[in-house]
Amino acid sequence: MDWTAFEVSIKLALLTCLTLLPIGLAIAYLLNKVQFMGRGFVEAIITLPLVLPPTVLGYFLLVGMDNNSIVGGFFVSITGESLAFSFVGLWLASLIYSLPFAVQPMLRAFEQIAPEIREAAWCSGLSKWKTFFKIELPLAWPGIITAMVLSFSHTLGEFGVVLMIGGNIAGETRTLSIAIYDSVLALDHHQAQTMSLLLLAIALVTLTVVYTFNRRHARLVNI
């Protein structure tokens, strides 16, 4: 069992889903609220990582993080280190490939709230911020939890993009899924099996918790 890879995976997944919480909330809220030209295009861009082959996405990210590129060059000028094949690079890539898993459930959750509920809050004297925190956020909560769990699980299990962008540096970019791949190549099936079962257990437990929570919430608010 490669505990270092496990630590990298958990750290990456946690950091990614926590960073995606405010980003996803802001994008989902604005997409639901603001009507603008090209909304379909924006939604398509956000959802793109869902349908793009991980190697294609990984390739573009690798090119974008190259030291000669704008983003990569900027990162080098600040930190003196390369963005590609670093944990930070991996984290930025995770934000992009897990973005649709965060935005879509949140967006659906906001869309489900009837406009009259929001208007009733305004007529009750609640400011727009108070309406968001006291009405919209609690009602969208199941969607937000789903978004967090999905982006966590998806980051935990991502393989293709991680391999392309992170390489296989122990303690830095070698995640559990890469370690499993390594173990299989080294014919260490016992280790591969242990780590696969661990990933399976984490995924199953988190999803069960989410579905149970969502069902309870739905019963309460009668959705």
Binding site: A120, S124, N222
Partner: protein
Amino acid sequence: MLKVNISTNAPIKLDVDLLCKDGELLALVGPSGAGKSTVLRCIAGLQTPKKAVIKCQDQLWFDSDNNINKTPQQRRVGMVFQNYALFPHLTVNDNIRLAIEQQQTDQVQRISELLAQVNLTGLGKRYPAQLSGGQQQRVALARALARSPDVLLLDEPFSAVDKVTRRKLYLELNTLRRQLNMPIILVTHDLDEAAMLADTICVIHQGKTLQQGSSEQILYRPNNVTIARQVDVRNLLSADLVKTDGRQTLHWFDYKFNVENAAGFVDNQSIFWTISPSKVLLHQRVRKSKGERENPITATIKDMVTLRGITTVLLNVYNTGDTIIQMDLPEHVAMRNSLKRGETISVSLLADAIHLMLS
């Protein structure tokens, strides 16, 4: 007092003039799509009309000419939405608490007062999904009143409950409104509901307010035939107004009726007239009365229906082709006079009950 004057083409065409005094319940009546709810949303500040002046209790809420547009939060409206729009994740108590101003110290007492006012004492800890439709409507009403609003707006509040609950809620609203001293606007497409609850009715059609007045005025004395059709006036008939021997008489087929209230009408013109079915006077069949001398007509009973003690009789009037006049009688009067289908009776169309309208 609430004064509303909207004249706009967007988002829908509106030409609205409303006046609702404190303690008065004004029913805004019209068919679906007439713009009733839009007017309510404009008053609440949920929709912005292009050109309007909305004034409540000496405060200008909206004035397009002077760029005044107060937010819904600033307007102090109590609004009951069609589907109540209760906050589903909050208990009844918390639904109401959110609408009570935070600086108010005795929140718990205020909540229990409001719950008592809408007959919901003891249900404060329930969630909206655990309440019946009628109870949800009461919570919505309590929440709307929690802010001590300057105006109460009710958007088809009875449409989502069954008929039995509706009748109960009518009575409750009738009692509750006597305790309130603010303008109340009720949007409904149900004329009977409006007539039962409202002090004044305003008819709206295709975004235009046609007439505002008491239910008696609107239902029995509409200003013109368009309003009469909107409020589904019975006995809407056409005739000629003719001046003979210095008196204006109504020539309807071969009948010549005396009329009162004909001032303002030009002689010898085609007009519409109506008479309320409850004001068609049956000549008693057992005992003659002097009413028989006033605009008498003879007719055959074509059909009879009795509902809740009122018998509606459809009369086929002699010498008028197939023209039908509707008459409403208390059930016991119909029984006492042994009215039956196919029988011939005579009735009077009282001169002061005949209402004339321009085409």
